[in-house]
């Protein structure tokens, strides 16, 4: 089964940063972007996007960890952190090209997006009011792009101005 991960559409993202608060709230019962596993990047005035773990194959973080504190669920692709083994060295952080494994500076253990497996749905997706965030797979992301471009190109054949599904 394809791995799901949080996808952010930078055209829809308005830079409100509420996803970060939703995440820290559900995980730590406080509002704190530094305790969020999805992180927002805003480059003024219009580049904005939030990003979290991409569930890589052969995850660089897992490979990098000198204490084998990280492993990956074969079923979901979620990175599993052994809190006892992790000593906060941060080598996985340097290995991750997306900057989405993060050190909790209070517990000194890393944290990463687990798709809110203890909740009904990822909270960042729920609280994104612009539908910029979706829980998706790589296949569906590409599929959406294909449908969008085909719909645009063949509007006449479709016979109407379609809403892009």
């Amino acid at each position: 089964m394809a791995y799901q991960y949080i996808v952010c559409d930078p055209d829809k993202c308005v830079g409100c940063g509420l996803c970060e608060l939703a995440c820290s709230a559900v995980k730590h019962q406080v509002f704190d972007p530094l305790l969020s596993r999805i992180r927002h990047v805003r480059i003024e005035p219009i580049v904005m996007m939030s990003i979290s773990c991409r569930m890589c194959e052969d995850p660089p973080c897992v490979i990098a960890c000198p204490r084998q504190a990280l492993s990956q669920s074969a079923e979901t692709g979620v990175i599993i952190i052994d809190d006892d083994k992790c000593d906060g060295c941060g080598w996985c952080i340097q290995a991750c090209p997306f900057g989405t494994i993060l050190l909790n500076s209070q517990s000194k253990v890393v944290e990463i997006c687990d798709l809110c497996q203890d909740e009904d749905e990822p909270q960042c997706v729920k609280y994104c009011l612009k539908d910029a965030l979706t829980l998706s797979t790589a296949q569906v992301v590409a599929q959406k792009a294909r449908r969008e471009v085909v719909t645009k190109l063949l509007q006449e054949m479709l016979g109407q101005e379609s809403a892009i599904a």
């Binding site: 608060l21 939703a22 820290s24 019962q29 612009k130």
Partner: protein, 613 residues
């Protein structure tokens, strides 16, 4: 503490010292936050009678109660001080990541006094405050400064509020900018910073924010955020506030050519619709905002290629229709210029419009204007004169003083059309065709202001007959001020107002969910009254008299010549009647002074002693 951090940071630039004051829950509940808390701090920390550009003027920032929480449109801060433009209180609103960071650094408010020996910027890093050399920053534009600070400190999480060249040169309407496009815009707070040789306040915060009822607050915040995707905010999300150009033009109250007229023949080509179609890139949001009203527009070709900024109605009217500009690209460029140089677009536009009228009437010669053909509609001249103002060069030095002082200096009857109240240049609603706004703008404590007043809403939304000057409008203006006030105190952006079922009870609920403190709707009403009386008390202390609550002669003597509001004017007797009714609604004396008992009843005993009658 929940919500609040419980700390006020005091900074002295002269001695390079800091001190943390823990005011206690009672104090915080009494002044709540935003403009009320900021005004109290100004009252206490700025001594009576000092020049606004002297080291003694205290610049006070106070966050929203909801800063850095998911309460939609709730992450804001107020900035206040004695205004170099009016000599009275100016209280500004700004928002986004900088506001959140004040709180996350551990503070509810920051007070900055004194004057640095040389160009300085503050770096507040949680508990540590550094006074850093700003020699490399002095002269930089506003956003340029923000970016330079981030590069210097090596952390993108550092947020700053900055001044540009206009603030450095003490332009009386220079502003303070944060997060590129947010401004503490009106009244010259940028000049206050400039007079302190304070180029920027940089902050980094690592604290988590805790609230009393996390689940309850998240649920209510989410519900409100969902409502904010509906029809009540549709205009903000699609066209933005610039949608007002065509509607106000149709009503005949779109200020045109220095308020000479209320209809602009080129309104369509500078309208929100036109900007949306030809220039819009994206609508973006402040931190914590699910509406996203900030319309980023740009110019892709021509003389102003590369100009890029967000455009709101007030900026558009001031540098646009008020200056007779029929070019959307020119308007974008003018606003971008003001934003980069760090000055209030509204004041800048209205001052330039005054200069244009002076030029056309022969009161300012071409020579006096440094060779510029400063006519209405001449966008090149406008761009050049805006730069001159920021640098106080040539004619710019006169205009940098604001329209009131400029007209006083020039004389020749130019005060007739110097469009300001108390020295603050007038906003984009012609009160001749909006009589509730006539009284609302005349009595405003920070000067001619649409945002603190909201009185124009009664006129444009048909709550009243906009042409009638019924004294009842004085009471309405008071009610609108109180309602606007509560948004400015707890701090919520007014754009969410249509999504609240009842502002007072909704706000009261949000307050309790956040802080855990009880706050009834009635207590909130008292807080907003306290805030308005505080502001008024400050003004009285600084020399306000009844004569300061009035409108410029043009509104009283020149009827609107054409359009739907043709023939409308504000009659002095009518204005007097409405203002008198406003004072009565406020519980003030017929001279607009505050009875001691009233101040005591509001818990302002010390102020009652000083300015009560």
């Amino acid at each position: 503490m929940n919500g609040y951090m419980g700390k006020i940071l005091h900074i002295d630039l002269t001695d390079q010292t800091t001190r943390v004051h823990r005011p206690g829950e009672d104090f915080l509940k009494k002044y709540v936050g935003g403009v009320c808390l900021a005004t109290r701090l100004v009252y206490d920390n700025t001594p009576k009678g000092v020049d606004a550009l002297s080291p003694e003027n205290a610049l006070c920032l106070a966050t929203s109660v909801f800063a850095a929480t998911p309460v939609p449109v709730g992450t804001k801060h107020a900035a206040a001080a004695k205004s170099p433009l009016t000599g009275f209180i100016t209280d500004c609103l700004a928002s986004s990541y900088f506001s959140a960071t004040i709180r996350r650094a551990g503070y509810d408010a920051i007070v900055v006094k004194g004057k640095a020996e040389k160009p300085t910027y503050l770096f507040i890093d949680d508990d540590v405050v550094e006074f850093r050399d700003a020699a490399n920053l002095w002269g930089k534009e506003t956003f340029e400064t923000e970016e330079a600070i981030r590069a210097e400190l090596g952390d993108q999480m550092v947020r700053s509020c900055t001044i540009g060249p206009a603030g450095e040169n003490l332009v009386r309407f220079a502003n303070i900018t944060n997060d590129r496009g947010r401004q503490a815009g009106r009244g010259g707070l940028g000049a206050v910073m400039g007079s302190k040789q304070l180029k920027a306040i940089a902050i980094r915060g690592s604290r988590s924010v805790e609230v009393a009822d996390l689940d309850g607050l998240c649920a209510m915040a989410f519900e409100l955020s969902e409502k904010a995707q509906g029809i009540k905010t549709e205009k903000y999300r699609t066209l933005g506030t610039v949608a007002n150009v065509l509607t106000l033009n149709r009503l005949g109250i779109l200020p045109t050519r220095n308020f000479q007229e209320g209809v602009f023949e080129a309104a369509e080509q500078v309208s929100g619709e036109y900007l949306h179609q030809h220039h819009k890139e994206k609508a973006v949001a402040c931190f914590g905002c699910p509406i996203a009203c900030e319309q980023i527009v740009s110019v892709k070709e021509g003389a102003y290629k590369g100009a890029r900024t967000s455009v709101d109605y007030e900026s558009l009217f001031a540098v646009g229709t008020c200056c007779g500009l029929d070019s959307a690209a020119g308007i974008i460029k003018a606003i971008d210029t003001c934003d980069r140089l760090g000055m209030d677009t509204m004041s800048a536009g209205v001052v330039v419009a005054w200069a244009m009228e002076c030029f056309e009437r022969g009161l300012l010669s071409k020579k006096k204007c440094d060779g510029l053909e400063l006519r209405f509609g001449n966008h090149q001249a406008e761009m050049e004169v805006l730069e001159k103002i920021a640098r106080r060069e040539g004619i710019g030095d006169l205009l940098a003083e604001g329209v009131k002082r400029a007209a006083e200096k020039l004389g020749e009857g130019s005060d007739h059309f110097a469009m300001h109240v108390k020295g603050l240049e007038f906003p984009g609603y012609d009160p001749r065709g909006a009589q509730t706004f006539a009284v609302g703008s005349a009595v405003g404590t920070r000067g001619g202001c649409h945002n603190r007043s909201l009185a124009y809403e009664a006129d444009t939304h048909g709550e009243v007959d906009r042409f009638s000057a019924d004294p009842e409008k004085g009471r309405i203006a008071c009610d609108k001020e109180n309602l606007a006030g509560i948004f400015d105190i707890v701090m919520l952006c007014k754009f969410i107002r249509g999504c609240l079922s009842d502002a007072w009870s909704d706000v009261s609920q949000l307050y309790t969910l956040t802080t855990g403190m009880e706050m009834t709707a009635d207590e909130l009403r008292q807080v907003t009254e306290r805030s308005w009386n505080l502001k008024k008390a400050f003004n009285i202390r600084e020399g306000w008299t009844k004569e300061d609550d009035w409108l410029p002669p043009r509104f009283l003597e020149d009827p609107i010549p054409a359009g739907t509001s043709k023939g409308s004017v504000v009659k002095p007797d009518d204005l007097r009647g409405m203002i008198d009714a406003y004072y009565e609604a406020r519980g003030w004396t017929p001279d607009g002074l505050i009875p001691k008992e009233k101040l005591i009843a509001l818990g302002l005993e010390d102020i009652a002693e000083e300015v009560g009658v």
